[in-house]
Symmetry: C2
Subunit: 325 residues, 2 copies
Amino acid sequence: MNQTFDALNRFIERGTRFLVVSHLNPDGDAIGSTLAMGYALRKLGKEVTMVNESPVPDKFLFLPGADEIRLPEEVDGMFDTVIALDCADRARIGTAVNLFAESARVANVDHHVTNDLFGDVNVVVPRAAATAEILFDWIDGGAVDWDDALAGTVYTGLLTDTGGFRYSNATPAVFRKAAKLVETGAHAHRIADLVLETLTMEQIRLIRIALSSLQRSEDGKIAWIRLRREDFEQSGQSRQDVDGIVNYARNIIGVDVGILIRESDAGSVKVSLRSRERVDVGKIAKELGGGGHARAAGFTARGTLDEVEQMILQHVRAELGRDGQ
Amino acid sequence: MNQTFDALNRFIERGTRFLVVSHLNPDGDAIGSTLAMGYALRKLGKEVTMVNESPVPDKFLFLPGADEIRLPEEVDGMFDTVIALDCADRARIGTAVNLFAESARVANVDHHVTNDLFGDVNVVVPRAAATAEILFDWIDGGAVDWDDALAGTVYTGLLTDTGGFRYSNATPAVFRKAAKLVETGAHAHRIADLVLETLTMEQIRLIRIALSSLQRSEDGKIAWIRLRREDFEQSGQSRQDVDGIVNYARNIIGVDVGILIRESDAGSVKVSLRSRERVDVGKIAKELGGGGHARAAGFTARGTLDEVEQMILQHVRAELGRDGQ
């Protein structure tokens, strides 16, 4: 990527005791990048504390060092050298910011195009598929020697942020980096299996309930799933954690738009929209006060499940009609 | 791979009118390889008929040329030059063998270690992740020039036979080939989306029924799903097509062995076994007259669902006990 890492390398050279943080509700790139940076700094002889506002999700605990990522309240003292990974802004760091000294120097390494350059040093590479891809370039450029643990943690970030190499950010460069990581010691099969192929019983129960509620429009072009508050209670699954459920609607052959409509707090209904190839659901979501992009978007509305269901179906039907389908 | 393709190239040079076949119930590698070989032969100026005993599954119909793959009964005449792809033996070709002349010359291109070398020319490369990987090497070695369609069809085979780059056959070489294919014009995102992210309504219904039947052992180490004949009738899904259902059991966090027990023909019950990391389910399946390997195996038993359920649970518990778990 011809990214220069001079400023980051100087930043690291000057420090001795580092706090490494990432965003709250961490995903594979947040955890993988935290661990990779933590390892690399230790190989450079630095003292490292890794922190995340949220506990490491169970499925990442097999990664070497994952059990060393602490909650903010488990850490004593303040840090004056901080590396923030995969955070578009300071708020994404969550309560881990309470561990920064006023005068702390911050390096901000991220791939979000919305990054507000909050660091003293900013390595922001929007064309990178993952923050882990930036770390790949940094390490591969000679920052530290590759080893199994580094390769595996970087691989985890690359794997998860490309949706298992299924998203459009799975570029030739990403595949070449994956090749090198596997060659260097990343256990690609084991990582994919343990990270991507896991379900909790709560998820199983919620999927079952979701599929029971699944409906399709007469022409088969819209499919939607409704989840009530009691469905979450019955499944034991948190209402924040509905990752992937909407895809059961979207993925049905013939469906152009998949919708998940779920009760949130009293009187509020959250809607997730996924589109195959024809409809710009980002446009629909924006009209209704939400956001997203053409293929994945969402919004929150007031009203009952029934009211919001009728409303969103009307909007999607209109958009499908405009498309001449 | 340092595979030589001299014999295959001579075989192709000598022919003018080719029948290209693959195995019945074709998967992504069978379809992708058929299309890639068909294209390549046409680029070489050959006349090509592509045939499969089974209709092309809907999810592959978007691939360029997929609508040209014929059923045997749709094809007139006999062929004396045949290329069989991804078939371990002649029987896998199914009724498409009825289109071979007695004297037909057959090239057998395959990656199955069990291949019985039934061809006049045999290009059998067991270390290849997919037959499409062999075709990659053949094409990349200069057989024909790459183009979008070739790259996409080869990519489809590579993607599906590595479980979306999740199996242990996703080697550095496979990732490098994926990189080159994407660079050359394979629409990796679109192919993954349309091939891997699709469900039929029949599958949705069967998953819902399967999840309702899911049970776990008290220690959480075994999870199993039961499907009765009427469950298949109710879902509309064929009893042959239960791909992936067993993984809902296996993928639950804490589960070592996932089991699918399903009623087959009268009095016969099919059992699929999937193991995470500890138990050799191949050994269990072999003891019970079936086959497979350590992580994925199966067998057929006579008896009722209840009887077979009790029997297999006993075997798996014994094996888990032996493991000292």
